[in-house]
């Protein structure tokens, strides 16, 4: 969680410095963050398949959103 918190922090920090404004980085990091919460819910609150049905799509869509930020990176 320390690392994921740092990741969200730096994602926030990079939000307005984009050469091309891309909210994907921010939203993707948040999705990562919330997917972890559903894992925590699965572990400590309630074991239900619903956590996976919400958490896994959050994780994978978050990853895809983060991947899509690479399109703004120019090849020198």
């Amino acid at each position: 969680m320390l690392v994921i918190s740092g990741m969200v922090l730096t994602a926030f920090g990079s939000l307005t410095l984009d050469r091309e404004f891309l909210p994907e980085r921010f939203v993707g990091a948040l999705m990562f963050f919330f997917s972890d919460l559903f894992v925590a819910r699965q572990e400590f609150v309630q074991r239900t398949v619903l956590n996976k049905w919400i958490g896994l799509p959050l994780y994978y869509i978050g990853q895809l959103l983060l991947a899509s930020t690479l399109r703004s990176e120019h090849v020198h």
Binding site: F12, L56, Y60, E73
Partner: protein
């Protein structure tokens, strides 16, 4: 659609003509409930729209289009993985989890702009890249399923064997030599992001079997750290980062009390309590950004030290809490984590 346009359209669509006229020309009691309910609905919808508008404007900039090969792989594998999780199918996890994770690596590689003077331009990308889901059936209809599958395979091969090595070569120690051979040099952001995706993939795969717990955990942590490196290298704005800190602190304040009563282990409960006290003490205008950040992180360690191990061991399917026994955590943290 503009606010005015949307409201006009919405009002005329939902409030029947006769009800709007009747409210002034017929006994009010006859139509009052109907009119009020629609007016209330319109007001509510307007309020919701007004509240959601900034978020919608923000999110509409997000685009996964074109639906590149990686997005399509994950889009297919993810539902299958979810079904496998629901059915507790180990075979399904072994098939679809790596596939879904491969999807985001391929997606990332596909998104990297190709310099056609140095890369072999992919002729198959035209067939396999779509701007809308509806185009996929059309592509199947026009090329045939076998041809489309062949194109997908060729594109996957191109991405993995032509595009990926350019990132590896430019991030290696012989970066200068590689740069001389290939004038294309990827940014540190791209390289760090690709490292993060690969580590995420490895973490996902390693966490499927029980014995891969510690390597998987390490891989995942390094992957998250690689994301942090990428974001940091991309550039940081102090103001927005402080907003992020506010978000994390708020979330910690919400999640801490929610999670704390659920954590049975005394050591972890104590850690969370200490962290919350530190957090409360630090929450004053006199404290600097770093101090607040550190304490927020301490709180998250307290809440999440337990969570993250559960996360990384149970993440995507592998539970460390089997029956009444904990596996892995005690070895990792040297703690007695009995139930």
């Amino acid at each position: 659609m503009s606010d005015v346009g949307w409201n006009t359209c919405y009002s005329s669509a939902l409030v029947p003509e006769h009800s709007r006229i009747s409210s002034s020309s017929t006994p009010l009691s006859l139509f009052l409930p109907f009119t009020i309910s629609h007016r209330s609905l319109i007001i509510t919808m307007d309020s919701v729209q007004a509240l959601a508008q900034p978020a919608l404007e923000f999110v509409q900039l997000i685009s996964l289009a074109p639906f590149n090969l990686g997005v399509q792989i994950t889009a297919v594998a993810l539902p299958c993985l979810l079904l496998s999780e629901t059915a507790h199918s180990t075979l399904g996890r072994w098939i679809f989890k790596p596939l879904a994770s491969l999807g985001f690596i391929v997606a990332a590689l596909s998104y990297i702009p190709n310099n056609t003077s140095t890369f072999v331009a992919s002729s198959t990308a035209v067939v396999t890249t779509h701007s809308a889901w509806a185009e996929i059936p059309k592509a199947i209809a026009s090329t045939g399923a076998a041809e489309l599958a062949k194109a997908y395979f060729a594109e996957l091969k191109h991405v993995l064997f032509n595009v990926a090595p350019t990132i590896a070569s430019s991030s290696s120690g012989a970066a200068a030599a590689a740069a001389a051979a290939h004038p294309v040099v990827h940014s540190t952001y791209t390289q760090a992001m690709m490292v993060a995706f690969v580590l995420g993939f490895l973490g996902d795969v390693l966490l499927i079997p029980a014995r891969g717990f510690l390597p998987g955990l390490t891989s995942f942590l390094l992957g998250h750290a690689a994301f942090m490196v990428a974001f940091t290298f991309h550039g940081q704005d102090t103001v927005t980062r402080q907003k992020g800190l506010g978000f994390i602190v708020t979330m910690a304040a919400i999640v801490g009390p929610w999670l704390l009563p659920k954590i049975k282990n005394k050591v972890m409960r104590g850690a969370v309590r200490i962290a919350i006290v530190l957090f409360q003490k630090s929450f004053s205008p006199h404290n600097c950004f770093c101090g607040l950040c550190m304490h927020a992180c301490v709180l998250w360690i307290g809440c999440g030290g337990h969570t993250v191990t559960g996360d990384l061991s149970c993440h995507l399917g592998r539970c460390i809490h089997v029956g009444d026994q904990w596996h892995g955590l005690d070895r990792l943290w040297q703690l007695d984590l009995g139930p």
